[in-house]
Subunit: 497 residues, 2 copies
């Protein structure tokens, strides 16, 4: 599939030892030096933009505008997480000063976050830049103070090599030990396993399939020393269409969703694979309009033949389930490895009775579920698995009338969208890209936004530690000028002792 050979166990051992040695240097770096390193990677990335994008186009079949914007997003992630890293508020610095006169005397206690150690990152096939080599997981790990070992996704190994070279340049310019970043190839299962099981590996970041993510999670828990795995394993991102809104704007919503379902050939973890409405004129209009839109959308090449084959198999499997009707298929002729835009439909009863219909069909596919009434829609919410996102399409009246339903939808997802589409994941502090299992392995963390840093750090308390030995963020005078919680109050003031 690619010209790179799988890393041997010996090569992995060498890389992990180098990562561990680099960890002991890098973890003591100031926030500013970490941030500067990340900005330096961003700068090196900008330099290779015109060289790497054609390679990525070749490897992933994604069109240039999409890759350009993903590349820009990747650089934005590095720079904005660097800024957030430097601001230091994420350290949640805490200071409780001593009360020697209390009985028993209260000690001086101060708490900050320290990095976990080397982080293994698995590149995602559908985001060759933003969730791969220099992507969100890597940026978060560097901000936390952790070295990174990336296992390149074999479907875009050459793209990954070029990005890795940019990181290595930044490493050199920043005078960091080379072990801070290692790039490893491995088309087989064994490479990933060896990496996750290595005693120097202290955390894992993964974006990909349920099968892949769950296997890594299980391995990590079976280690002698279990380690945290944040695996983002996709989702079918239910969209709940409420009646009044549907009555008002069926055609507009259909147009919006035809675009969302087929964006990047449906290869987004936030693709709306499930649309749920209550039977009636509005829903019927929506289905007809959505079908008409989908027929006119061109089939396009998927990321790689493996994904195209999986789409074909899963699409056929879904369409041939009992009670499933095919509503519309793109009318243009598809070429080999193309994803064919497809809309199906089924009743709520069929959906509730058949787990196959709950499974992600990764690609430009969505199924519309027709409920008899609001109670059936409520039943679907109660039986839906954990999701990255859920979307409510409704007027103010709808949302008020269906308040309990919306409240229950909240239980099932990490992000709740009103009157929009789930595709498009903003990089900002308010973003939660995570969600209850099986969307991710730990709903308490996010992989988009600078809050993702917290996956790779842990608190340490210092008790009666002399000021001179405290980390900068905990010193009396607050030399970093960061927000800290001192004796239960947020402040940027120094501490008088």
């Amino acid at each position: 599939m690619n010209k790179y050979t799988d890393a041997t166990e010996e090569e992995i051992n060498t890389a992990m030892q180098a990562a561990w040695d680099a960890f002991n240097v890098y973890r003591k770096y100031s926030l500013k030096r970490r941030a500067d390193f990340m900005r330096s990677i961003a700068a090196e990335m900008e330099i290779i933009r015109n060289k790497v994008i054609p390679v990525a186009m070749e490897e992933t079949h994604l069109p240039e505008p999409r890759l350009q914007s993903e590349f820009t997003r990747t650089i934005f992630q590095l720079n904005s997480y660097a800024d957030y890293c430097e601001q230091g508020v994420w350290l949640d610095a805490r200071i409780d000063t001593a009360i020697p006169a209390r009985n028993p005397p209260k000690p001086d206690l101060r708490k900050t976050l320290v990095p976990l150690g080397p982080v293994v990152v698995f590149g995602a096939s559908n985001f060759p830049f933003a969730y791969s080599t220099a992507g969100g997981d890597t940026a978060c790990a560097f901000a936390a103070g952790c070295p990174v070992i990336v296992k390149a996704h074999p479907a875009h190994a050459e793209t990954s090599e070029l990005v890795a070279a940019a990181i290595n340049k930044a490493t050199k310019k920043s005078n960091l030990p080379t072990g801070i970043f290692t790039h490893i190839h491995g088309a087989g299962f064994e490479t990933g396993k060896t990496l996750v099981m290595h005693p120097y590996t202290k955390a894992v970041g993964f974006t990909g399939s349920y099968t892949g993510g769950k296997a890594l999670f299980d391995m990590a828990n079976q280690r002698k020393e279990p380690i945290p795995v944040f695996a983002e394993m996709g989702s079918i991102n239910p969209v709940y269409l409420l009646p009044e809104k549907l009555q008002q704007s069926a055609a507009d919503i259909a147009r919006q969703y035809a675009a969302s379902v087929t964006l990047s050939v449906g290869q987004f973890c936030t693709n709306p694979g499930l649309i749920i409405g209550i039977d009636g004129d509005g829903l019927q209009q929506f289905i007809t309009a959505l079908g008409n839109e989908i027929k006119n959308i061109m089939p396009s090449p998927m990321l790689h033949p493996g994904i195209a084959k999986a789409f074909a198999v899963n699409r056929t499997k879904a369409l041939t389930q009992s009670g499933v009707n095919t509503i519309a298929v793109a009318s243009a002729t598809a070429k080999e490895n193309d994803g064919i835009p497809t809309i199906a439909s089924a009743t709520a009863a069929a959906f509730l009775n058949n787990h196959v219909l709950h499974q992600e069909v990764f690609g430009p596919y969505s199924i519309v579920i027709r409920c008899k009434d609001a109670d059936e829609m409520q039943l679907i919410v109660q039986h839906i698995e954990g999701q990255l996102t859920s979307t409510v399409i409704g007027t103010g009246n709808d949302i008020e009338l269906y308040k309990t339903l919306v409240d229950n939808i909240e239980l099932t997802c990490g992000r709740l969208i009103f009157n929009g589409v789930p595709t498009g994941v903003e990089v900002c502090l308010s973003m939660q890209h995570g969600g209850p299992f099986p969307a991710t392995t730990d709903a308490r963390f996010t992989s988009v936004g600078a809050d993702g840093i917290k996956r790779f750090a842990r608190p340490v308390s210092y008790q009666n530690c002399p000021d001179i030995f405290l980390p900068e963020e905990l010193k009396n005078e607050n030399p970093l000028d960061i927000w800290r919680t001192v004796n239960n109050e947020l402040t940027r003031d120094g501490v008088e002792v």
Copy 2:
């Protein structure tokens, strides 16, 4: 062992259904109502103080002053976590306002924390109040918005019943559904397993042995839907004695440690079970002084016969390992089920070669490790397992000279103490009571201090949500007057849109 029978599977199913129903009510309560409920529990606890303490004395053999202070601590936890819950800063509320003119338009995104769901709490044998029925885990879960199902520790089932009754009174007075709190007995393994495997259980809090905690962690990961388990599984809490300080104050340190090793018959998870020094006059003086102190400390009854038996077995096992010398044993005659204060010693080489010596001997026991030199001490740090605490006893000069050693110690623990003892765990925001595996199952969380709330909550983002449907903490006008991060800046100001 006690008069209560194990809960049947049917009883557990009923309790979990009630907890789920209560969750759907309680999770929508305001922070103030949650806090008031917690304060109401604290008030009901105060009422039963004089009734429950004699029962706890009978069940645990802990002396009255210790139980009185633990009881006071438990009430303090409930009240102080309630205050913190109400302040709302723990929600990490985030607001990024929309930029409609951007291409593509930036949506309005807002993030807060929502509760995970029903939490199963396993009472600890050594803290009948502070880490049992109305203890830290229960208080954190209530603050997070979660119902609690407590499995009483069989060794203090009657104490637990009385505390549960106080919680039930507070539930009634607060007009909460009874399912918000359920008290279950179960001496056998099956009760715990049924609770952890129940689909409505969404998180677990545990304080106890490695065997117990690891079994729950494994079960939870093998569920169809894995759930987070925070198990605090104890630790041997290494104490590193540095040379200059030892030369100056061997006798004082010995006195301090004789008290710490034997406090509450050594039945603390932060008991200093391992003391490490470099051979020389100072260390010899320390060992002699510590031995003399220990001889004069009275053997005392342990929590229950099971713990006393385990102590006897583990103590004998440790003392009979190759290279281990018994330094001192309490000279008074011990009664049945007494813990006998004991100090042993071994060389670093013996310690490094024998994993048995790394294992916790739960009770009034500590082993002093004699290193030939600083390199050997460094080697011990490299081979030590994850710990709740580590302690450095040293002068300013010592700590400067041994800076790398201290830096490496930090990698192994959750709390780093200077010139003190690890026993005594302050309840405050700067406390980290956690640490790398096997001290706990997830070093990123704490079980002491209000930060423990975060174990039981997860972020949810709301995208383009109408203000009227947003949770209070995310509404434009900031009606709760809490600290929020608005467009990357911490502020208590409202948002103008």
